[in-house]
């Protein structure tokens, strides 16, 4: 694990409780989609995990949703603040050999998928994205996905933007779905459970979250129950798992 003293270049509000943080590193090696960084905050003892949402040279973008004290603290940081970060952590996602692939984002789940879209785009793999959220205000990063994807489908629970309904209501009826080779999904646990029931017949990689202790494989705090009846560490064995292999 590498620790960094990084600088917050920009802290921009994207929507209700949603913030985009641009962070400048002094020293940064390869970062793969799916990997994450752990942020020290002044509000909690343990670090907080955030996926890399995008990269531009030595700058990483993170997108966060305020859900508790740690995220609230981060959301209030002003530009120029110094950040104590550890990372990159976790395994990068297995990149597909061919497309098209589809990204399935529920709410803040769009964050890590954006960086995946960027990498897929660089490798000229065709990529579609289905971005869902509760309301129009909570639909984030739509423009960024637009510039990287073949097709972007928007959906909101209340119909205030794009199609109306849950991601898993809309997905099965999409015409594009048939030639998709791999799905990548990130969203709340209920979304993964519903995706599992849909049984899309193609590999589906789930970007999981979990309350973490160490983020470095030492404490067993983050385990997700596998179909083998054992817990697997989201921090070092994940955070991306084949949906088939985990219990929800």
């Amino acid at each position: 694990m590498k620790r960094h003293q990084a600088t917050l270049l920009e802290n921009r509000r994207l929507g209700p409780g949603l913030y985009s943080l641009q962070v400048e590193f002094e020293d940064l090696g390869d970062v793969e989609p799916g990997q994450f960084f752990e942020f020290l905050t002044g509000a909690r003892f343990l670090r907080r995990a955030f996926s890399v949402a995008d990269r531009d040279a030595m700058r990483l973008r993170f997108v966060l949703r305020v859900v508790g004290k740690g995220t609230a603290w981060l959301s209030q940081l002003t530009e120029g603040s110094k950040l104590n970060l550890a990372g990159p952590l976790g395994q990068g996602v297995a990149m597909p050999s061919e497309g098209p692939v589809m990204l399935l984002a529920g709410g803040i789940g769009a964050a890590p998928l954006l960086y995946l879209a960027r990498k897929l785009n660089e490798q000229r793999v065709e990529v579609d994205a289905l971005l869902a959220a509760g309301t129009k205000e909570e639909l984030i990063l739509t423009e960024e996905f637009g510039s990287l994807c073949r097709k972007v489908i928007l959906a909101t629970d209340d119909g205030s933007c794009g199609q109306k309904g849950l991601l898993t209501d809309i997905l099965p009826a999409l015409p594009a779905i048939n030639d998709i080779q791999i799905f990548y999904a990130c969203g709340p646990e209920s979304m993964f459970a519903a995706l599992k029931r849909l049984d899309l017949g193609k590999p589906l990689y789930a970007f999981l979250e979990s309350r973490m202790g160490c983020g470095t494989g030492l404490c067993m705090g983050c385990g997700v129950l596998g179909r083998d009846g054992r817990y697997h560490r989201v921090c070092t064995e994940g955070p991306v798992f084949n949906l088939e292999e985990i219990e929800l």
Binding site: M1, R3, F45, R211, M212, G213, C214, M220, C222, G223
Partner: protein
């Protein structure tokens, strides 16, 4: 300036010990382990143990509550698969988590001859399991029995890791010492409950957990001082250390070794930083760790 400490004949290159459950099995971050005084594994049970349901972790600014439970590979896999992989130059202590006398017998009989293992930490205190653990450790009688049994089965150093939950840890300490423990580890986490008021249910998957972290340091310091003055075997402190200053406080209070637990979760290299802080202190003071153990003055 040497920072070494002896517990009986056992030598530790410095007073820092990586605490059970916060550094895995010693398979990663070995550059840290190799600089420490000792390393303790996650608790090992006779049977493989899947651990507790999620969520397992909660924290505040100065506390961590965990309910990992004794998730571990179990004795057989530990011995056959894990132990051969452990490659460290630091004394390896295995934390043994039994529910009853039989468990401890099986664990020690199976592991006692392993050369790689320097000694055992008897987990008489884990608050995250229904049977054994804390319940065992709350009775001086049972602490004595487990320790005696363990003593009869191995000549390796035996550390008795005790709890202060719902018991008088001075009494369980005495029982462990009388039964032949080589050292006392004070203390394991405090029983703790976090409530989700919306769901009107415990927040942690296991119902409750164990509290650790900097907030408990003054509490554990008091216990270490009390017990080390009353009991004639070395005390190993465990509770809330995040800095070299904390380690020095524990040594002054009477601890011979000091464990690092929760801080490893924030930074697995914390041990290296704390070691540097200690070096600086002991160099400046021109004194050795052994020279300050228990040297707290009265007010």
């Amino acid at each position: 300036m040497s920072l070494e400490v002896f517990l009986g004949k056992a030598r530790f290159r410095n007073p820092l010990v990586l605490a059970s459950g916060t550094f895995g099995y010693g398979l990663t971050h070995t550059h840290v382990i190799d600089r420490m005084g000792a390393f303790v594994t996650k608790g090992i049970t006779v049977q493989e143990c899947v651990g507790n349901p999620q969520p397992r972790i909660w924290d505040s600014r100065e506390t961590v509550i965990n309910s990992v439970g004794l998730e571990n590979v179990g004795l057989k896999r530990f011995k056959e698969e894990t132990l051969p992989l452990i490659d460290i130059s630091t004394p390896l202590y295995v934390n043994l988590a039994g529910v009853d006398l039989d468990d401890f017998r099986i664990l020690i009989e199976s592991l006692s001859d392993e050369e790689k293992i320097a000694g055992f930490e008897l987990n008489l205190s884990c608050p995250n399991v229904k049977e054994g653990g804390a319940a065992l450790g709350q009775s001086a009688d049972r602490v004595g029995k487990v320790t005696s049994l363990a003593r009869s089965l191995t000549t390796k150093p035996l550390w008795a890791k005790l709890t202060s939950n719902f018991c008088d840890v001075r009494e369980t300490s005495k029982a462990a010492a009388d039964a032949g423990a080589d050292a006392l580890v004070l203390i394991n986490t405090l029983n703790a409950l976090v409530i989700d008021i919306k769901g009107r249910k415990p927040f942690l998957g296991a119902g409750s957990g164990g509290l650790s972290g900097p907030a408990i340091k003054p509490y554990v310091l008091y216990i270490v001082k009390e017990v080390s003055r009353q009991i004639n075997i070395p005390v190993i402190a465990s509770g809330g250390v995040t800095s070299g200053t904390d380690v020095i406080e524990y040594l002054l209070a009477g601890a011979s070794l000091v464990q690092l637990g929760s801080i490893n979760l924030v930074d697995p290299e914390a041990g290296l930083r704390i070691l540097e802080e200690l070096k600086r202190y002991f160099e400046q003071e021109g004194i050795s760790p052994a020279g300050i153990i228990g040297r707290l003055e009265e007010r």
